[in-house]
Symmetry: C2
DNA sequence: GTGAAGAATGGAAACGTTTCCATCCGCCCT
DNA sequence: AGGGCGGATGGAAACGTTTCCATTCTTCAC
């Protein structure tokens, strides 16, 4: 019977006492560094197991002056595209024994900087993050100041030479518009997140514009909406009154695409018979709904994993300005069909 | 010009040196504990700001022997219902200055226990977690052993008296079936996660069964599927061949419901004209798709927040066996309509 | 003028690890 | 048989905080 029923977590000192050795020996045995007699190893392991000893990450990190932890900052975990990339980061991190500290901002700058402060205090060794606008972000400036390595995910800065992993948003958007044009659409509109607040939205808009110009088509209506605005009917109505209404809409992300389809149906328009819709992101639920969502697929999970990998390998080298372009694919879907015949 | 361009993170000692005071004073000033001359405070604050000093959480936690951190364990971040509850936990935690450490298991027991070990090593003060089966879970046994407080979310243990926050799954399922019966459905099937692996699935199945019995209806077909199985057509085919095919299907969660609708369409059946479908969870995308998804809504975000609150307030008291039942609502949707007339 | 009280501040210990260095011991080689 | 070598182990310092305790100094009452 154990006389000592100490009701606190066992420390290395407790293990050492029980095994009758020094803490140095315990540390060595448990970490497999240094040599030890088989009997010693046995004693130590038995003691550790008896006390269900779990080395404190805190003590370890303090001594080691490194945490083997990276921070992740995303606008929202409830947007599947971010959840997916976080999962990719976690996978890649776990593989090499790294932990992940996750923070979300809900698109709120105040929460963003608080989150960054928190991650910094936790001494993360680097960050993978997605910000609203990579060209003007106080958080990124902070990171530059303290020289903490970071890799942007999804963001594609236009001016600042910041390391990022993304798709070529302009080329990707062009692919969407070209596909629409090939299907006979001539009046192609865009539903986009606020340009002021999103470099992605700007890039995707640029691609849309360029593709239309190349195809000799006039730019259709552009509707800018806020992140959390999911009731879009009243925003679309004005553009669907005349005979010149668009036959296809390109949404700058999938959540927006879903909201758009919903709104079109509320307006009594059929998708894709009256209006086609294509999204951007490639979230999984898009495949499950009816009509299934046509979308430009970014490899979210792989992007997360790649971003982490860049961060890790770049820890020693120079991360500045490096960019990785991920491949994208256009996933066909029932929401994107041929232009209505009466309009050709 | 600063002569000292030390390229490492500033410590309290650096601040003390620069301000010309002791580290004790720095600590007191920055934490607002104890008294200090206005000039001293000014000097300290200036030095801290000059060096962009951020107190190390690691050092702080080690000394304080508490981390103000809770762990969260979910099967998957990419399932919106979990993402949503995690968001709720984060919100509630942030409000009282707690941090959140997130781990996901991907339904893999090995990953689960590794994740728990990790959280334990990080000295979380408690856990909010969702496991496959709360009645037989090695991870939970571990937590009981080390006496670390935890609250289950979504799980509703049948035997073990474990603290949990959930809806009354049986009553909720009954509500779904009763609604279906009221709409004239007589042959009501169920698509469920593996009973072996999920207490939720079992409870929901029990509610389905009980409601059918009460309504004097024969149990329709039950299809058990794996978590990540999203192609269901071949699983449904056998049950839709005879004239006795079900007119309504109750899916034990929303992802399953989406997959079911998809599969039905692949089989050439219309939803809801030929077959109605109702899910369970209340994920947001359900509202956006067409047909919109009828579903039993759990207040995911509030559940997360509540679970955290229980954990926090229970830290001192006794958590054992406490349960909080959250209110549920039945969200109507286009996927659930009246039974086809020819079948009445 | 003396003493006490209290404010301001500093010294030092402690938290749980890892790791450098020193010590001790047994063994092999000559 | 003696010297040296190397393996096993322990002591102690260090990481960055907070906080207890002690010290100094100011101020005020007698």
């Amino acid at each position: 019977m154990d006389r000592v029923a100490l009701d606190r977590v066992a420390t290395i000192r407790d293990v050492a006492a029980r095994a009758g050795v020094s803490i140095a020996t315990v540390s060595r045995v448990l970490n497999g560094s240094g040599n030890a007699t088989p009997e010693t190893m046995e004693k130590v392991r038995a003691a550790a197991s008896d006390l269900s000893f779990r080395p404190s990450t805190i003590g370890r990190n303090l001594k080691a002056a490194r945490t083997r932890t990276v921070g992740v900052l995303v606008p929202s975990l409830t947007n599947p595209v971010f959840a997916e990339s976080v999962a990719g980061i976690q996978d890649a991190a776990a593989e090499v024994g790294y932990s992940v500290l996750i923070a979300s901002t809900d698109y709120d700058p105040a929460r963003e900087s608080r989150a960054i402060e928190g991650l910094l205090s936790n001494r993360v060794e680097g960050l993978v993050l997605t910000v609203a606008d990579a060209d003007r972000s106080g958080s990124l400036d902070t990171l530059d100041e303290v020289r903490l390595p970071y890799v942007l995910a999804y963001n594609q800065p236009e001016r600042a030479p910041r390391a990022h992993v993304s798709v070529d948003n302009v080329a990707a958007s062009r692919a969407v518009v070209e596909r629409m044009a090939a299907l006979g659409h001539r009046r192609i509109g865009m539903i986009a997140g606020r340009f002021r607040q999103s470099d992605r939205s700007r890039r995707r808009h640029a691609g849309w514009q360029a593709a239309l110009a190349d195809a000799g088509l006039p730019p259709g209506p552009v509707v800018e909406v806020d992140f959390n605005e999911l009731r879009l009917a009243h925003r679309l109505t004005p553009h669907f009154e005349g005979p010149e209404r668009p036959t296809a809409l390109f949404a700058s992300n999938d959540m927006l695409a879903l909201a758009t389809i919903r709104a079109l149906r509320d307006l009594g328009l059929r998708v894709p018979d009256d209006v086609s819709v294509c999204g951007f992101d490639g979230i999984e639920v898009g495949r499950l709904m009816a009509p299934s969502l046509a979308t430009l697929v970014q490899p979210a999970r792989a992007m997360g994993a790649t971003a982490f990998e860049c961060l890790r390998t770049g820890f020693s080298g120079e991360l500045q300005g490096r960019a990785v372009m991920m491949p994208f694919t256009l996933r066909p879907g029932e929401s994107l069909g041929a232009a209505p015949s009466e309009s050709t």
